[in-house]
Structures are given as structure tokens and as C-alpha cells.
Amino acid sequence: MARIATALLICGLPLVAAQAVAQSEPPRWDELPPRMQGVLGPIEADWKRMDPDRRRKWVAIAEGYDTMTPAEQQNLLSRMREWAKLSPGEREQARERYREWLSIPAERREALRERWEAYQNLPPDERAKIRAGQSR
């Protein structure tokens, strides 16, 4: 048994080492390339508090920045701070709704933006009434 344990230790060490390399920490803010710092600028203040997985996600998003259309780039830059401030539960709720609305036919989906604006133009008390009806 002791022999198996010793041999297991010897055989397992490379695996543990490989695991440690795979789990290496994502870059600190000052380690990011200047171009990426520029893209992720709106969330610089939140960077330190972010867990490694969230940092990796932001790095992946920033890596695709140059392939986005100007409108997409603008949307991203104006929303990333708001997104980073949401609670994990709120982010999950938004993802769930987004997934759900992805299944809406394209022509109706395109009208969602106009619908949102129309909803925003409703009197505040009417919107509050609709929300209250939902939470009941």
C-alpha cells in the first residue's frame, strides 16, 4: 500500500503540475497589452475584484473587439461598466432572457428595439403599474 502511495505520488506529480499550469492566474491589469487596456478601460476599477473566470471572459471579449462593427464597439463600450456592476443573479437573468428572445423570428426581433423605445415612452406610472402586475 505504501509502495502504491509512493508510486502514485511520483506518477501524479506531472498531472498536478499540468493542472497548476492550466489553472494559471489570468493577467493583472498592468499586465494587459495597452490596446486591451484601452478597450477594457470602463471596467478597470472592477478588475481587481473580479474572479479569474470573469477576467478571462473579458479578455476574450476584448480580443474580438477589432472584428466588431463600429455600432457593436460603441454598444460594448457603453454597456460593459453597467454589466460588470450587475449581480451574478442579474447577469444570469439577462442571459436567460437573451437566449429566449434569440428564438424570436428575425423580423420580429428587429422590431424589439422600437418596442423598447415605445415602452420607455410610456408614462412612468403606467410602467410601474405593469411591473407591479408582474411582481404580484
Partner: protein, 120 residues
């Protein structure tokens, strides 16, 4: 030094053999016994190679198999986590660059209002 019973017997046998006078049959049987004893020593468990072969190799094999299984499990879990992270990252990216602002996805009232509207 105190001799064991075996050692005393071995000495008596050696003295007797030194005197000679063995029959050919006795000499042959002794030669066979010697060859057999030497063969046992050569292939016995006393050699380092044999010790490794007989005790460490099975242990190493077992340990390697266990480490391999553990490695596959860890690797599988790691791959799955990485896959989920990539998928969520892609979803977040699409959501953030989409036409609709984030508030639209979080406002329960908007969803209810949409459902109450006639479909054009």
C-alpha cells in the same frame, strides 16, 4: 560467536566431504543439489532487479493506472469548465453588442408589456 544448528551441520558435512570417498551416485546427487541451490540463488528474490520487478513494478503499474484515471477525470472536468466559460463569454459578448440595452432584458415590465401587445 555462537553457531546455529544449521551452521554446525554444514561444517560437519563439509568435513565429511573433504575426506572424499563418495560413490558416483552420491557425487552426482550432490552436484545436482548444488546446481539447484545456485539456480535458486540466481533467480531468488535477493537481487535488486528482482525486488524491483516483483514488488515495485506492480505498485507502479497500479499507481500509474490510478493517476491516469484521476488525470482523465480532472482533465474532463477542466475541459467542461473551459467549454462552459467560452460559451458564456460568447453569449455575454453577443448580449453586450446587441441592439437592445441591458435594461430591456432585466425589466420584467417590458416582457409583460410585449406579451400584451398585438403581434403586427
Amino acid at each position: 560467536m555462537r553457531l546455529s544448528e544449521e551452521d554446525r551441520l554444514a561444517r560437519r558435512m563439509a568435513r565429511r566431504l573433504d575426506l572424499g570417498g563418495l560413490s558416483p551416485t552420491q557425487a552426482r546427487r550432490l552436484a545436482e543439489a548444488r546446481a539447484s541451490a545456485l539456480g535458486h540463488v540466481r533467480h531468488g528474490p535477493g537481487h535488486v532487479g528482482d525486488v524491483i520487478r516483483e514488488s515495485w513494478l506492480p505498485a507502479t503499474r497500479t499507481a500509474f493506472s490510478l493517476a491516469l484515471v484521476a488525470g482523465l477525470l480532472l482533465g474532463g472536468a477542466e475541459w467542461q469548465a473551459e467549454r462552459e466559460l467560452t460559451q458564456t463569454g460568447q453569449l455575454d459578448r453577443s448580449l453586450l453588442v446587441d441592439d437592445l440595452p441591458i435594461d430591456a432584458y432585466l425589466d420584467e415590465g417590458f416582457r409583460a408589456w410585449l406579451e400584451s401587445q398585438p403581434r403586427s
